[in-house]
């Protein structure tokens, strides 16, 4: 793989972390700042080799706080930028994820989830950070989070994450788990012209009239970058369309915070992706994501063999939550089964969207994801 200053094409047998790194390069990412942490380190290692081949920057910062700060700086200087980490580092990044939200910085943050809380189980998978992805920084805001369930998707969804970050000027999170990150699978790399790449929505307004936070109809403001002569200001303080601090105005606070939420939530129909399998006549629907969704697929197939009308709704997008899609399956299903590697996080969102339909939560913590049989048994219990 090394020594080729070219995007990968064709079939390759690689790990999820490497696929993610290659996806970033393909998406046009030319700045990576990070700090070593299991199980995300291989992303940094691979990019330390690949970035220079494309004239991009790799830097290992002094901690994760600095890493995300540098990523925001690089994005404002005009580069597509990314960092990658795991739970403890993701916690350290939270304050500056809020800064990226407030300053509407396109950037990608990869969190390879391991067992938590605290140092937890560094080499074991988990799905314990999915609510942190939504609520981790203080204040009210909305982000986008995606959950890959294969090595192929580590590549595809990394590109998608960069596209969404640029379209909506929002930090976009790739919430993968340790198994997906360390697993090796065959990946098909499409040729460059087959891949959709979204670049920055630059402002067309003159320097004199430019306002860095003046949104277009979709709530998203076009962006100027440092060094282009716009002389604009950006701040983590509540600000008006000019970017000037307005710390005493309830009107400005309300308008800004609502727009930051609306630009994601009101565009959810364009953002949300799910994969539906055998749901048409399903009486028992399984809702799952990440590595667990693969066991869930086997379980659903097994159930069908046994004459149980089961189906799978795989969440590709975690945030904004696929509310309509869950509500739709809840209308026809007798019960919904939600297996997760945590103590019950997305399951609460499913309960909220499912309304009257009973939701059975199947928790698993520790060394391995749910087995297909465990999920199958839960399906059978709910028939």
């Amino acid at each position: 793989m090394s020594g080729k200053k070219a995007l990968l094409t064709g079939a390759h047998f690689i790990s999820g972390d490497i696929a993610c790194a290659e996806g970033a390069i393909t998406a046009g990412c030319r700045f990576f700042a990070g700090y070593p942490i299991t199980p995300a380190t291989e992303i940094a290692e691979h990019l330390s080799e690949r970035m220079p081949e494309f004239g991009g920057i790799y830097i290992q910062m002094e901690d994760e706080i600095a890493s995300i700060a540098a990523v925001i700086g690089a994005s404002y200087a005009g580069l597509k930028a990314m960092t990658a980490t795991s739970g403890p580092g993701f916690s350290l990044m939270q304050e500056n994820i809020g800064l990226a939200v407030m300053t509407e910085t396109p950037c990608v943050i990869v969190d390879i989830m391991r067992g938590g809380p605290s140092t937890g189980q560094p080499t074991m998978p988990g799905q314990q950070d999915v609510m942190q992805a939504k609520w981790g920084s203080h204040g009210d805001y909305a982000i986008i989070a995606l959950a890959p369930s294969s090595v192929q998707e580590m590549f595809d969804l990394t590109i998608e994450a960069f596209n969404l970050a640029e379209i909506y000027r929002v930090p976009t999170l790739l919430m993968a788990d340790e198994v997906i990150a360390h697993m090796w699978e065959k990946v098909e790399f499409p040729s460059a012209k087959e891949i959709k790449i979204v670049n920055r929505r630059k402002t067309k307004v003159s320097r004199e009239n430019y306002m860095p936070f003046m949104p277009e109809n979709d709530f998203v403001p076009p962006m100027a970058c440092f060094g282009e002569g716009y002389h604009f200001h950006a701040t983590g303080l509540t600000h008006d369309e000019r970017g000037y601090p307005k710390t005493q105005s309830s009107e400005v606070q309300s308008k800004l915070v609502r727009r930051l939420c609306d630009k994601i939530n009101n565009n959810a129909d364009k953002i949300v992706k799910v994969q539906e399998t055998m749901l048409d006549d399903a009486e028992i629907a399984v809702v799952a994501y990440g590595i667990v969704s693969r066991s869930a697929l086997s379980a659903v197939r097994k159930a069908r063999e046994k004459g149980i009308k089961a189906g799978l709704l795989r969440l590709v997008t975690l945030w904004p939550f696929p509310e309509e899609q869950v509500a739709k399956i809840a209308e026809q299903a007798k019960a919904i089964v939600v297996p997760e590697m945590n103590c019950g996080q997305m399951t609460r969102e499913v309960e909220r969207a499912a309304k009257e339909t009973p939701v059975a939560f199947l928790s698993k913590l520790g060394e391995e994801p749910h087995t297909p049989m465990e999920i199958f048994e839960e399906i059978r219990r709910n028939v």
Binding site: P52, G55, A69, I72, G73, F226, H231, T235
Partner: protein, 279 residues
């Protein structure tokens, strides 16, 4: 017809952001004034200048200068500026922030940016306390000084910032007080023309918050302390430059040439890709 008079330096300021938030007697305006004078004397291309600040009174500077500017979270100005400088080395990136922001919550970023020799320029207004939050003790508060959180006198030793910057690897290190406006302006000019990580400490009066608890109720009284105590000693030993009530050593401490991180990185990129083509 009366001709409208504009300030000769109005192009450097965002007039809509003025008046500034600073108290009477504060030194931050002098720091900003010297910075603008230096830019003007250098005929700095404002399109290529990015001013970054953290949180605190002086942190509002980024909003006042009419350049590309960014007001980061508390302590993270240097880490943000690192990303900017590496992403576009053509930009002149200046961090203007305070002693608490740069050396307490942001201390780790300072020493590592200096160690790496990232080509950013850091100006620290040292007012000996956390002014914006009402005057708490910080990493530069002098021994025995009174603050809102050291009501019995400060027992923590303070950082000697120029010694810290030198030991961390900065290529240019200087200290001035807000009394030394011409020397400070010249020093900023020299710094702006250097490659690598540069640091200027400006000892700055905070009479409303710090001085009044320490027998210096007015800006003038604080400036009188600076006049009485400061000694110009260029290239003296920074390890012996602790600030005391009796003595504030000012001057340039370090002015060396060293290749910057971003230059090394881009040389490396060129070298790697040359090798790969030759294979």
């Amino acid at each position: 017809m009366v001709e409208e008079l504009t300030h000769p330096f109005s192009k450097y300021l965002r007039s809509a952001m003025i008046p500034h938030i600073w108290c009477p007697g504060c030194g931050n305006g002098i720091v900003l004034n010297c910075f603008i004078h230096a830019l003007d004397e250098l005929q700095e291309d404002l399109d290529k200048l990015v001013v970054v600040s953290g949180i605190g009174c002086i942190g509002r500077t980024a909003g006042y200068v009419n350049t590309d500017s960014f007001h980061t979270t508390h302590g993270r100005a240097i880490a943000f500026a690192t990303g900017v400088k590496l992403a576009n080395p053509e930009l002149d990136v200046v961090v203007i922030s305070g002693d608490g922001d740069l050396f307490a919550i942001g201390g780790n970023h300072f020493i590592h940016a200096a160690r790496r020799n990232i080509g950013i320029k850091v100006i620290c207004a040292n007012n000996f306390n956390y002014g914006m939050t009402g005057g708490q003790q910080g990493p530069t508060t002098p021994a025995e000084a009174y603050t809102t959180t050291t009501p019995y006198g400060n027992i923590e030793p303070s950082f000697n910032l120029v010694h810290l910057a030198t030991a961390s690897g900065a290529t240019y290190v200087a200290r001035w007080t807000t009394l030394h406006v011409r020397r400070l302006t010249q020093s900023i000019k020299r710094m702006m023309q250097k490659e690598g990580f540069c640091f200027i400490e400006v000892v700055s009066p905070c009479p409303e918050i710090f001085g009044r608890r320490n027998k210096m109720k007015t800006g003038l009284e604080m400036m009188e302390w600076f006049r009485r105590a400061s000694v110009v000693e260029n290239f003296s030993d920074p390890s012996k430059a602790d600030i005391t009530p009796e003595r504030i050593v000012v001057g340039e401490f370090v002015n060396i040439e060293k290749i910057s991180y971003e230059k090394l990185f881009h040389e490396k990129i060129a070298h790697i890709n040359e090798q790969k083509v030759n294979w």
